[in-house]
Amino acid sequence: MKSNLNRIEKGASGDALFRIFGNAADKLIIAVLLGSICLFVLYPIICIFWQSFVGETGLTLGAYTDVLKGYRTSLWNSLFTGVLTAFFCTVLSVAAALVISSSRGWVKLLLMGVILITMVSPPFVSSLAYIQLYGRRGWITYRLLNISWDPYNCWGVIWMQSISFVPLNALFLSGILTKIDAASIQAARDLGAGPKHILLDVVLPLMRPGILVTLLLTFVRSIADFGTPTIIGGRFNTLASDIYMQLVGYSNPAKAAAMNVILLVPTLLAFWAYRVMLQKSDKLTSGKGKQDTVNLKLLRCGIVGWIALILSMLFFVMMVLQYVCIFSLGFMKVTKGSYSFSLQYLQQLLKYDTATIWRSVIYALIVSFVGTFFSMLFAYYTERRNVPGRRFFDFLVMMPYMIPGTCFGIGYILAFNKEPMKLTGTALIVMACMLFKQLPTTTKLCSAALTQVPRTLEWSARDLGGGRMAVLRDVILPSMRPAFLSCFAHNFSSSMTTAGAIIFLINPGKKLLVFQLFDKVYLGEYPMASLLATLIIVIVLAVEGLVWLISWKEGKRRVS
């Protein structure tokens, strides 16, 4: 002990003091992390369940029987849409993934560019473009082909959902493809397999667990999506769009809660299967062979290769059409049925909505910084430290990923609408909801980065006299630099584009861009909506580009 005291007396420098207070700070951080997860994840979820069982006279199953009786069609519609969307979307995703990962050069760049834009687009863009292109007065259906039809039906919903879920799935699947050991493809060739058999005997079987994961996740996303059926479903309602109507139209939280719990059942089942599948996928593609391009010529893969090419071309052409439509529509005005260039809507937007633009950006920035930091800390404490009940907390953090966005949002309304935690209508609740809804993904990103940090680095810091805080400050956070960028990007684009979770939490006086967009689409003001969508995409790309540039320069400065 003597030498210790000496050391501290000799130099009461900041770092030495830092070490002494470090342990207390360490405990404090754990308490804050776990406490906020309980408050902002566990508590709202409990509230939903509780609310769904409590009627005017006490505990009852009334809400459930009501829902099962009154909304049987919607429930059926949800499942029907979910299954078909999952199927169509997965077929398209596999095709797109094959094309992306087997292409190279500028083609690949172009395809990835399209995917990137769709990733940062707000959710209603597809529906908006759908109406504009294929609607009653659609550019393609009416002006070009001169047909008049009713686009508002279940097939529109299924088709639009399938298209808009493809990019994320295609990225996931092409990620799996690049992890396939190049040696196994070479081995197949060596043994005499042509391109067709490589595709059928090696590539697709190795993708199989990934394909199943895609099916499940798409199903879950489809039944949670309220925007598409609300906008283009017409009289076709799903449970998710009914929940939206219940809350917005009739403000009946008990019923909405019960509907959410029912919606949660297939979701949780799908996720349970998803976990099993993902483990299998990881076993098949252990990630040893890291390759940018899978050596596969789709043109020579026979009929399957052709189908994949045609489907993915169809998809990419539709995507390009969609964005051309969105980007141009905001800068056009219609006079006597003909279009001309106009800045009228832009002027209108800048005149009335600058506050909304700034608010959206600031919220998103705050959520991105705080959320990224939070997920880094959480990843560290659950991965590397024996935090009590870490499995449980790990599960809790994943919950917002599994439960539908609207469900999570309703949980927040129920949890924070009474004293002493009356937060409804504040900016805090909106940002907290965004943050915790995005936490599962960012935490996973950070955990992945953390596996690259050897334990001995932590040990070294402590061995040389640094306490727990020094480990965090000097080892963990600097090592997670690469994860920072991806977390930040994810947080920012999600915060700018998510609608489901926070749609009920927004104070009408303090709107965000996504809601303006939703309103405009709902009201049929398509040019304005297109402009808003364009604006969101431009902002997200600009901010993420800036962050990327800064961290890239910083990286260069550090190396030189």
Partner: protein, 254 residues
């Protein structure tokens, strides 16, 4: 005795990894803990370093009980097998990291850091990053980083196992010289019998969590505790002459 381990025990999942290990060593000496993989030698080292807490037993260093102290409070520093160098810091920043917690001013720390880098022959690479230098150089940085805090005891966990054979021999000599010059007390873990025989003032041979023998290399050579020690050290192939030379018989049988 300077370092005293008494009746150390450690279990993982109900399996004894270190059983009732007691050993002592004097100040300024180099002790090698030798054994095949899985014998508990690294576990023992990690208990001395504070990264593992023994289930029972005591660790005394210079009269101070270390058993329950966290690593940052122990006057002990470690050279890890994988070095554990910070990839986001320069060589100099790596070397002076431990001085932060010992009340050094930035300037003093940098001065001392340069001295130590000079000592391991890397003064001219002070501003380089870890990935820019070779394995042998990384090894030296790790050593300088551990020694700069003037620990009462320096631990080395198979520090040469990532180096090629020629470099290993060279680093061995450098380590021995540094240890003598600084009068440093060191505990060195290895599975390389030759390395242990050449480097150590005393050798502790472990097998399945038990300490078989702890003595000077020469005395172990003359009086191996049992057959296992004899076979493990290949004593039949070694000749220790009366004038202190150690020779190895390389038999050539086709």
């Amino acid at each position: 005795m300077y370092l005293e381990l008494s009746h150390l025990k450690k279990q993982f999942d109900g399996k004894d990894v270190v059983c009732d290990l007691s050993l002592t060593m004097e100040k300024g000496k180099l002790l090698c803990i030798l054994g095949s993989s899985g014998c508990g030698k690294t576990t023992t080292l990690n208990m001395i370093g504070g990264f593992l807490t023994p289930d029972s037993g005591k660790i005394l260093l210079d009269g101070q009980d270390l058993t329950r102290l966290p690593p940052e409070q122990r006057p002990v520093s470690t050279v890890f097998q994988s070095y554990g160098l910070f990839p986001h810091m320069t060589l100099l920043e790596n070397v002076i990291y431990g001085l932060k917690f010992r009340g050094f001013s930035k300037a003093d720390a940098r001065k001392k850091g340069r001295e130590y880098l000079d000592m391991v022959g890397l003064a001219d690479r002070a501003g380089a990053f870890i990935h820019e230098i070779s394995g042998g150089q990384q090894q030296r940085v790790a050593l300088a980083r551990a020694l700069i805090v003037e620990p009462k005891l320096c631990l080395l966990d198979e520090p040469f196992c990532n180096l090629d054979a020629a470099l290993r021999v060279k680093m061995r000599e450098e380590l021995k010289k540094l240890q003598r010059d600084l009068d440093m007390t060191m505990v060195f873990v290895t599975h390389d019998q030759e390395e242990a025989m050449i480097l150590s003032d005393s050798m502790a041979i472990m097998e399945q969590g038990h300490l078989l023998q702890n003595d000077t290399p020469e005395r172990i050579y003359r009086n191996p505790a049992n057959d296992f020690v004899k076979r493990f050290l290949n004593l039949d192939d070694l000749i220790w002459t009366q004038d202190g030379k150690l020779m190895k018989i390389i038999s050539h049988q086709m």
